[in-house]
């Protein structure tokens, strides 16, 4: 497998200015180095306020980082893009897509699903409307929905279907990397299994690299190839899934893994 994305010294500093009688709040993320292979699944775990969601947003370009580079397909651009290199931005929005945490709230309730899915195509490609519609319908069937769902509104869909639309929106532009912020947290168990199966299937078909944040270590163990453990804005441990679960090194990782193991019924650990 070849490297598809390299993240080099990505840094983000959140700095609230000191005010009268108030201490300044400083939160630094990174510097973060990361390589992603083709078709690989990476899980980011860690406690709350460790900077996991922030890292996801920095990767897709939702927030501008302070320094660092992202190399994608041997095309290098500064992670912090300026107005001038619009081309680089366009390329990046093509190749790295995101699924947001609450799929239902991240969809516009006033427009039908078709329009929601049309938006990334209209903004990022030069396809005409006649070309866009079959593409949207094809993607809808790919995620297990029907063509008719093109005309549905958000409130007409169930949780699982909304998650599928979110997934469809993310894979609309044929990205190479998919970033997801707690994609399974809000879903019910049976729907969650369906989504996991769907993502696994899409990964096989499209060779997607999938980076996701999760608290559910059972799912992480099941689908992730590699795990990144974060604390206070830094990567404290990184490794293969089995290695992390069997021989955790860092104190925080140990805590997380033992907390998970204590819930799992004993006879399955062995």
């Amino acid at each position: 497998m070849s490297d598809i994305m390299q993240v080099d010294q990505l840094t983000f500093i959140h700095n609230k200015k000191k005010r009268w009688l108030k201490r300044p709040e400083i939160f630094q993320l990174g510097p973060i180095d990361l390589t992603v292979k083709r078709g690989e699944t990476i899980a980011i775990i860690g406690e709350n306020r460790a900077g996991k969601s922030l890292l996801a947003k920095l990767l897709v370009g939702g927030l501008p980082p302070d320094s660092g580079d992202i190399v994608l397909n041997s095309h290098k651009y500064a992670a912090k893009y300026t107005r001038k290199d619009k081309d680089a931005k366009q390329k990046r929005t093509h190749d790295i897509r995101m699924i947001l945490q609450h799929s239902s709230e991240s969809m516009n309730p006033a427009v039908p699903v078709g329009k929601v899915l049309d938006e990334p195509l209209r903004l990022n490609t030069s396809l005409s409307e006649a070309e866009r519609k079959p593409l949207i319908e094809e993607t809808l069937t790919k995620v297990g929905l029907l063509r008719e769902h093109y005309y549905f509104y958000r409130h007409m869909l169930s949780d699982g279907q909304q998650q599928r639309v979110a997934l469809a929106r993310a894979i609309m532009l044929q990205p190479k990397v998919l970033v997801a912020d707690e994609p399974f947290a809000a879903l019910d168990p049976t729907i969650r299994s369906q989504t996991v199966n769907l993502i696994l299937k899409l990964q096989q078909e499209m060779g997607l690299a999938f980076i996701f944040i999760s608290h559910n270590l059972g799912i992480v163990r099941h689908i992730a190839d590699r795990i990144i453990v974060m604390e206070n804005g830094e990567i404290i441990e990184e490794g293969k899934t089995e290695t992390i679960f069997r021989w955790p090194q860092h104190v925080t990782t140990k805590k997380l893994v033992t907390a998970y193991q204590s819930l799992v019924p004993q006879h399955t650990i062995r």
């Binding site: 019910d188 168990p189 059972g218 163990r221 997380l256 907390a259 204590s262 799992v264």
Partner: protein, 331 residues
């Protein structure tokens, strides 16, 4: 002798011309010192049961039940005052969304001190009582695992992250030392370490103070590790109920099996990245409930008989309602 005993609870929503049956003959009982899990997906009516127990349903709902009693007293026949007294001292509820259930206009400390019953506060003079109240608040907050108590006791609900809010709700419920704790999805969105911490706290309280807990959730991993018995709910019908270890070993209802299968941690033999077994389709909405067994359209074992509602059958302590249960061939 069950503390809380509910038999054939039916809830109907009146929407002008039509009535929707949100809960259909639900049975539930919690014994003294028992941790009972109530499992179901969203829209199965878990939270409705909780609201029905604490009497927080609006007038649109019609409650019908053969029996709904607390320690032998009929909850439905009580006066408003008596009901409130039971809710204040004996039953405590942790609601689902902390940000929405906390009072936005008061600090968390004020809210917590308000929920301390007068009998627990020692001291003759008001400043002694205030001090003691503060001490109780502080120790309760520590007990649920909040570290910076000074900061959070002085904060308003909008200033705190949701996991702290959740812990605060638990603290407010525990401070009055109830006999039954109803926890509506208390560990949702928590990281594993905090979750185990909260679950350990619940188990400890259950063992030392013999606190009964009705644990409402769909996190099967958490449930399996701590609860003694389980009731599974699907689309407003009780599907299966019984001892946890029996259900885990040998689920009789196809839906229970699907739920257990959906947690990959339960199975060691599952190879990584393999296809998870699951039920097709999605949970029906209340307006479009299928007739008969409500799992029918999604059930892999469904047959013609499934269009009539199955009756509750019983093997020892294990209740189930299914026409074609699993594992029955072996018996």
């Amino acid at each position: 002798m069950p503390m809380l005993d509910i038999k054939n609870l039916t809830l109907e929503l009146n929407t002008g011309d039509t009535t929707i049956k949100a809960l259909d003959k639900v049975n539930l009982s919690v014994s003294t010192g028992e941790i009972r899990a109530l499992v179901g997906e969203s829209g199965s009516g878990k939270s409705l049961i909780v609201s029905a127990i604490c009497g927080a349903l609006s007038n649109q709902w019609t409650i019908k039940a053969d029996r709904m009693s607390w320690n032998g007293e009929n909850l439905l026949g009580m006066s408003k005052y008596q009901r409130r007294e039971v809710m204040r001292r004996d039953i405590a509820v942790v609601f689902q969304n902390p940000q929405a259930s906390l009072d936005p206009s008061a600090t968390l400390g004020e809210q917590l001190e308000e929920s301390i019953p007068e009998e627990f506060v020692e001291g003759t003079w008001f400043w002694q009582r205030a001090q003691h109240r503060k001490r109780i608040a502080k120790s309760t907050v520590h007990k649920v695992g909040i570290k910076h108590h000074q900061h959070y006791l002085n904060a308003y609900p909008h200033q705190i992250p949701s996991d702290i809010g959740q812990k605060f709700m638990i603290a407010m419920a525990l401070v009055s030392q109830p006999k039954l704790l109803i926890a509506d999805d208390p560990t949702r969105g928590m990281e594993p370490t905090t979750k185990t911490q909260i679950l350990k706290l619940f188990t400890r309280l259950n063992q030392t103070r013999s606190l009964s807990i009705l644990f409402v959730s769909h996190d099967l991993l958490a449930i399996a590790s701590m609860s003694h018995s389980m009731t599974v709910l699907y689309a407003g019908q009780t599907v299966e109920s019984g001892k946890m270890k029996h259900i885990k070993k040998r689920p009789l209802h196809p839906y229970t099996k699907a739920l257990l299968d959906s947690a990959p941690s339960f199975r060691k033999d599952l190879p990584p990245k393999s296809h998870l077994p699951t039920l097709g389709g999605s949970i029906p909405t209340l307006q479009h409930l299928p007739i008969g067994c409500r799992l029918g359209p999604r059930c892999p074992r469904a047959q013609r008989a499934c269009v009539s509602t199955p009756t509750v059958r019983r093997i020892h302590d294990h209740n189930y309602s299914c026409h074609f249960p699993l594992h029955m061939e072996k018996l």
